[in-house]
């Protein structure tokens, strides 16, 4: 049962082959059995079964809601009423949220069951899940490898089939990169498509939530639930949400697929390059035309991002001061000492590093050289995409330069860790939708991700391309041994 997609589970529930309670219990058992992966921070077994029972009762006399009785895991960045929402940090390890994020409300209203909250890099700052206060997550494909980050717990949970699907958030690649490294499907929507209300903020102008699933079809189902205008989010876009499942089966004949030369240069591992080349061939066979394009400024996306994201983060994380909620240091001399000790003990090393970079680049005398410069560069990067989409319909490239690296391999070298997001960051800066889908395994037997980037609000087209690709290949059906 755990091998099934959501589309298949819905059918099984509808046909009465299984109840939501049985389904939920099956996944809870798997979560329990694979605790060594450390994919979850909070497991809500009792509440999940309670919700499943209510869903089964409801199904007896009411039409099922879109995700009726389907268990889902949520990244621990979404505020969930009555549950600890830790964001992977000691700072919020005791924070029981008094409200639900809009995304969580949507899932509840759609009839989905909450299995638990997944592990993540602290405050979503990381590409390996190693910055979590709760310890690293293991990659189900290779226990010595990282699952990617920051949505590493969600990616590992789906890859290990501890949950049929999970939510993630993506500021610089935090959905796509772990999806690639764990061999699953992950979609970061257009900025403004999914409400940010109730999602603990990392970098407000970049953060976007999205689904992490086995298939593009499942991602379409979840995005149908997650997307939509939210009056509580001033950056949410008031634009109708299409039915993302409706266009999955459209043909790809004449589709113009752009290959940016900057995504295939030095630093791209040979096995990854090979897998992407093979995917290009598959799409050609499906009728797509290949176009060579260029995103010249995207090579500077990482430096640009490491000014903007830490700057916003340094301000966003100022609210964690030990006054109204969360961690407060046990001993302190006075107010400032309370602030300093609370924040130094409550935040981990990487978070402190980014707060300091952000405080520095915004400070008097440096703003123009760093922050303003980065905002200008951001414009150039976005303009590159604008030009590119005059020549093609979707952009294709690798999600990451390599397959999953080993735990500990990059923890002492933040810059080399940052460079892992070199192909994912540009879409965040431009606010565009991006997707990662499995494209085979590398020489080390670890998954390779194929990235698709679309024009603003063209999630439906990305899902269509991904779905057609998944109809023609079976990379997404591969499962790690032992799961």
């Amino acid at each position: 049962m755990h091998r099934k997609t959501i589309v298949e589970l819905q059918a099984a529930l509808e046909a009465g082959q299984i109840s939501s309670v049985e389904l939920t219990q099956a996944f809870l058992d798997r979560i329990d059995h694979h605790q060594d992966l450390n994919a979850f921070i909070t497991i809500t077994a009792e509440a999940a079964l309670e919700q499943a029972r209510a869903s089964d009762d409801r199904r007896d006399h009411e039409a099922p809601r879109p995700l009726e009785g389907i268990p889902i895991a949520h990244k621990d960045i979404f505020c969930t009423q009555g549950l600890i929402t830790s964001c992977g940090s000691r700072m919020l390890a005791n924070f029981v949220s008094p409200y639900d994020a809009t995304v969580i409300q949507h899932f509840k209203a759609a009839g989905a069951i909450i299995l638990g909250k997944t592990n993540m890099d602290e405050f979503a700052m990381g590409s390996s899940n190693e910055t979590s206060f709760y310890g690293p997550v293991k990659n189900p494909w290779a226990n010595q490898a990282v699952p990617g980050g920051s949505s590493g717990g969600s990616a590992a949970a789906v890859a290990a089939q501890l949950a049929p699907a999970a939510t993630g958030t993506d500021t610089g690649g935090s959905i796509r990169q772990p999806a690639a490294l764990c061999g699953i499907t992950g979609l970061k929507p257009t900025y403004g498509r999914v409400s940010r209300y109730g999602m603990v903020a990392f970098a407000s102008s970049l953060d976007q939530a999205g689904p992490m699933t086995h298939t593009a079809a499942d991602a379409a189902l979840l995005l149908n639930i997650m997307a939509g205008f939210d009056p509580k989010d001033s950056t949410s876009v008031d634009k109708p949400v299409p039915d993302y499942t409706a266009t999955l089966n459209d043909g790809l004949k004449g589709l113009r697929v752009g290959l940016p030369k900057e995504y295939f240069g030095d630093g791209l591992a040979a096995d990854v390059a090979q897998a992407i080349d093979a995917s290009v061939e598959t799409l050609k066979k499906l009728g797509a035309n290949i176009v060579d394009i260029s995103l010249p400024n995207s090579t500077l996306a990482v430096p640009c991002y490491y000014v903007l994201a830490p700057a916003e983060a340094s301000s966003n994380l100022s609210r964690f001061d030990g006054v109204r909620y969360g961690y407060r240091a046990a001993d302190y001399d006075d107010l400032n000492d309370m602030y300093r000790k609370t924040r130094s003990q409550g935040f981990g090393e990487e978070v402190k590093r980014r707060i300091m970079i952000g405080a520095y680049t915004l400070s008097a005398g440096y703003y123009d050289a760093y922050y303003l410069k980065a905002q200008q560069l951001r414009r150039l990067i976005a303009d590159d995409f604008h030009t590119a989409f005059g020549q093609c319909d979707v952009i294709l490239g690798p999600t990451t330069p390599t397959t999953a690296f080993d735990l500990g391999a990059k923890t002492d070298d933040p810059v080399s860790m940052y460079l892992n997001d070199i192909y994912t960051i540009p879409a965040n800066l431009a606010g565009l939708p991006g997707m990662s889908i499995p494209a085979g395994l590398g020489e080390d037997g670890r998954p390779i991700g194929l990235q698709l980037i679309g024009n603003a609000f063209e999630e439906a087209r990305l899902l269509n391309v991904a779905h057609q690709y998944q109809q023609a290949t079976d990379h997404h059906k591969q499962t790690p041994e032992g799961y």
Binding site: V302, V323, R353, S363, Y370, Q376, A430
Partner: protein, 95 residues
């Protein structure tokens, strides 16, 4: 752009972080590395380019001036580190 321990100390104070001596050395190193990375931006001439603060061009949406929120002090203060008589408590602030 190389930072020295004094710079890092100042930044830490601005961000209300307490950094121990051994940590300081490591932060000086890694923050300098990161500033070298972001310094690569200077390879591009951005003179005259309008800064991009938001991914979309849509204007600010304004809401009607109506009260929509109820008093939830009790549930908010259940999760607070220290409260008394409905107030959040912090160490004495001297003005």
């Amino acid at each position: 752009m190389a930072l020295d321990p004094t710079d890092v100390g100042k930044i830490a104070e601005l961000a209300r972080l307490e950094i121990s001596e051994p940590e300081l050395t490591s932060y000086v190193h890694s923050l300098t590395q990161i500033l070298d990375l972001v310094g690569q931006m200077n390879a591009v001439d951005t003179a005259g380019i309008s800064p991009m603060a938001h991914p979309s061009d849509s204007p600010l949406r304004l809401r009607q001036d109506i009260v929509t929120e109820q008093d939830r002090r009790q549930s908010f203060q259940e999760i607070a580190p220290a409260t008394e008589s409905g107030l959040y408590l912090v160490p004495k602030v001297i003005e």
